[in-house]
């Protein structure tokens, strides 16, 4: 009982737990960044590569941001890193969606003999005239 009381009243436990979670999130971020980058290198198609980077790389960077939040706490730059997590989850799907739409309008084909599901939709999207003022 005395040992338990000593353990829970000490500041060392909290700081050790904090550092354990910081290490855990940094390792998770490194893993997801590696998965995203090797997917970017190895996958055969523009759309497949977008699938790799927009999920895994975003999750890795957000996890490293979250380790920053755990490290600095509820003050100053810790809250800023929470804003960074929110911003990454908000903007990375938007950016990759815009890239894939641009690739479709430029007429980048799929890998292999896969086509768009409805042919008229693809044609109406790709032959849309550029909007000018």
């Amino acid at each position: 009982m005395n040992i338990l009381n000593n353990l829970f009243s000490s500041v060392d436990l909290i700081s050790t737990l904090q550092e354990f979670f910081v290490i855990l999130f940094i390792l998770m971020g490194c893993f997801f960044l590696s998965v995203g980058t090797f997917g970017l290198l190895r996958l055969p198609d523009v759309y497949n590569r977008l699938h790799a980077t927009s999920k895994s790389t975003t999750l890795g960077a957000a996890s490293i941001f979250f380790s920053g939040f755990i490290y600095f706490g509820f003050q100053g730059m810790g809250l800023t890193s929470l804003v960074g997590v929110f911003f990454l989850f908000l903007t990375a799907p938007t950016g990759s969606h815009m890239i894939s739409r641009a690739a479709q309008k430029m007429g980048v084909e799929f890998f292999g003999d896969i086509t768009w599901p409805i042919e008229s939709d693809a044609k109406s999207l790709s032959k849309k005239p550029p909007s000018k003022k």
């Binding site: 700081s15 050790t16 550092e19 354990f20 910081v22 290490i23 940094i26 390792l27 971020g29 490194c30 960044l33 590696s34 995203g36 980058t37 090797f38 970017l40 290198l41 523009v46 590569r49 977008l50 980077t53 790389t57 975003t58 890795g60 960077a61 490293i64 941001f65 380790s67 920053g68 490290y71 600095f72 100053g76 730059m77 800023t80 890193s81 804003v83 960074g84 911003f87 990454l88 903007t91 990375a92 938007t94 950016g95 990759s96 815009m98 890239i99 894939s100 739409r101 641009a102 690739a103 309008k105 430029m106 980048v108 550029p130 909007s131 000018k132 003022k133």
Partner: protein
Amino acid sequence: MSLNILLPTILLPAMILVCILTLFCGYRAFVGPTIPDRVIGLDAIGTNITAIAVLLAFLTGFDHFILIALVLAIIGFITTVAAANYFSENEVIQ
């Protein structure tokens, strides 16, 4: 007791790993077959560099590097949207 030593030990290999991954993304940005491939490579480089900036905040103890990481994420997003608009619509702001 040993975790206080483990965090500085693990920061430098993580930093080196993320830097090497960024160089690999540069391979896709240089030799991508189509233009959207290059844009994807540059976007992945931007995301990796935000992670490098957060790790620099741990390594140097200067916590304003997290603000730098946030600004780099914003600049990467704006660059991606501008490049996608430019290559699909031939103009950045219509």
